[in-house]
């Protein structure tokens, strides 16, 4: 049993372990990084910062994705209820627009309003992450077998009972897949926040570009990649194995 549990969770654990090891114990990698950048004065992005940057990164993505889930799933539920049907095309269009609008442009527009720091990137990620969530929630709720809907109504279930006991559980795998896409894409996109003063794993990358230091860029990029892998494999374990 515990063995099975261990194998089930081994992939996310490995990625998480690597991620933390790199975030706190980067100096062991100095020779390797030195090889990528033999001329530079320093190759290690200041150590104390990496873990903090990682946590900030996670925080920004968590807040943006949390909001995107609440808003995206909520909106999709509302427009599939009898009263909200009329708004379905509007919501679907708004969500696609959110993704066609480049996050960089959102950042540029948001800074004058929200100032430098974390908020502009949260807004950009929120908009960018809505589409997969809205689209998948709509697909999940609309794609239910009509016979199941008919039975649920025919047995005398009310709207709320159908939503919580039948529709959401059956649509859950598709909705979760949408959230997974949204979150993993946003982990990478969040790095852009460093350009407007958010301190996260984008910071070493920006610093690397500005100073022409490939080693810095590598550290930021590798950590972001590992974070995305860890979160993605956590998601793939989240879905219950059902027959």
């Amino acid at each position: 049993m515990s063995m099975a549990l261990l194998t089930r969770w081994s992939a996310p654990l490995v990625w998480l372990g690597l991620l933390l090891a790199l975030a706190v114990g980067g100096e062991w990698l100095e020779p390797l990084l030195r090889w990528s950048e033999p001329e530079a004065r320093r190759v290690l992005y200041p150590q104390a910062d990496l873990l903090t940057l990682l946590l900030r990164h996670v925080q920004v993505v968590a807040i943006a994705s949390g909001l995107a889930v609440v808003i995206g799933v909520g909106a999709a539920i509302l427009v599939t209820r009898p009263g909200g049907r009329d708004f379905l095309p509007l919501v679907a269009q708004f969500a696609s627009m959110g993704q066609t609008f480049p996050p960089v442009a959102v950042l540029a527009l948001a800074v004058p309003v929200l100032g430098f720091g974390t908020w502009p990137i949260i807004v950009a990620l929120l908009l960018y992450g809505l589409l997969p969530i809205v689209r998948n929630t709509l697909a999940g709720l609309e794609g239910l077998d009509p016979a199941i809907e008919e039975a649920a109504r025919g047995m005398g279930m009310g709207g709320g009972q159908r939503l919580w006991q039948v529709e959401l559980p059956l649509a859950a795998p598709i909705i979760l897949a949408g959230i997974r896409t949204s979150v993993t894409v946003n982990i990478a996109t969040a790095a852009l926040g460093a350009t407007v003063g958010a301190s996260n794993l984008g910071a070493p990358i920006i610093a690397g570009i500005v100073n022409g230091n490939t080693a810095y860029i590598l550290q930021g990029a590798v950590l972001i990649g590992l974070l995305a892998l860890a979160v993605d494999s956590l998601f793939s374990r989240l879905l219950p194995a059902r027959q």
Binding site: E150, A151, R153, M155, G156, P169, L170, Q243
Partner: protein, 318 residues
């Protein structure tokens, strides 16, 4: 009791159900038959208000159904659909217990009721209670669907091709159960089927629909003997109608008292149908049969002449 008074339903410009009037009394089983798309399912769905009727009136136990809250009404009416509509993420037991739980029965009573129904429908509890719908055969899933419809012991049952995917033996068993249930517990049942033998065997009232209208309704024998038009005649089996009539007439209705003549070897049970009696005659090359009771004692005799009705005086047929 269910009463429909010139009930109409339109979808867009199309009239799916056209001014039908129908009364199903308490304890009666009404079978709806007709070609695909003639409005049978629509009629059922209007009775439990899954869809609202556009014209006419529907009354249940004397009250117009619009006076009821739709959900409360549907919990009172058992509903079984052909495609079963079982919830794939729930176990068989949980699916069956749905309506009792909606009615807030105590958990223990729900559990007892579920076991009772599984036994009634031939689904051993140990084997099936924890299975999921995807692990069932088509026939097993239909039985679960019927069990779910019966779960809260509703007075009224609407059944839309509930036995379509069953093998003949299980199907006959369940037809028997249904008839028993109906006569014992006075259920009012509206039953849709494409199987004419099933309709004839079960129905107190047979309703033939075509293109949204009721073409003819009455007792099965009446329709078999006097179909209103060619459509009804061919739906009821064309030239096969005679055999269908034989299939719903009991031997006991046609047999004669024992005479002094020697009893034939070939035997048939008094509760068998005339059709079965004919089959025995055909197989045994006999034109006379001994009629026996449960103890295999002879209680009468049946001749081919009696079966075909030639030997009856005054035609005491009802």
């Amino acid at each position: 009791m269910i009463e429909l008074k010139s009930v109409t339903k339109r979808f867009g410009g199309e009239t799916a159900v056209d001014a039908i009037s129908l009364t199903v009394n308490r304890g009666e089983l009404c079978a709806l038959v007709g070609t695909s798309g003639c409005g049978k399912s629509t009629t059922l769905r209007m009775i439990n208000r899954l869809i609202e009727h556009d014209g006419g009136e529907i009354h249940i136990d004397g009250r117009p159904i619009r006076e009821f809250d739709g959900r409360i009404l549907r919990r009172r009416i058992g509903y079984a659909i052909q495609s079963t509509g079982l919830f794939p993420h729930w176990s068989v037991a949980r699916n069956i217990g749905l309506v009792p739980r909606l009615l807030k029965w105590p958990a223990a009573r729900v559990g007892e009721r579920v076991e009772e129904l599984m036994a009634l429908l031939g689904l051993p509890v140990e084997q099936f209670a924890d299975k999921y719908p995807s692990q069932l055969s088509g026939g097993q899933a239909q039985r679960v669907g019927v069990a779910r419809a019966l779960a809260a012991d509703p007075d009224i049952l609407l059944m839309d091709e509930p036995f379509g995917a069953l093998d003949p033996i299980t199907r006959e068993g369940l037809q028997g159960e249904l008839r028993d249930l109906q006569s014992r517990l006075q259920k009012t049942i509206v039953f849709v089927t494409h199987d004419m033998d099933e309709a004839l065997a079960l129905a107190d009232r047979l309703v033939v629909m075509n293109a949204g209208r009721i073409v003819q309704q009455g007792r099965p024998l009446e329709l078999l003997r006097a179909p209103a038009d060619d459509f009804v005649a061919s739906l009821l089996g064309g030239d096969d109608r005679g055999l269908k009539e034989a299939a719903i007439t009991r031997v006991a209705e046609r047999m004669q008292p024992l005479s002094l003549r020697l009893l034939p070897q070939a035997r048939v049970h008094r509760d068998a149908t005339l059709r079965q009696a004919l089959a025995v005659m055909f197989r045994e090359h006999a034109d006379r049969l001994a009629v026996i009771d449960d103890e295999a004692l002879p209680v009468g005799e049946l001749s081919l002449r009696r079966i075909v009705g030639a030997g009856r005086e005054g035609g005491s047929d009802t």
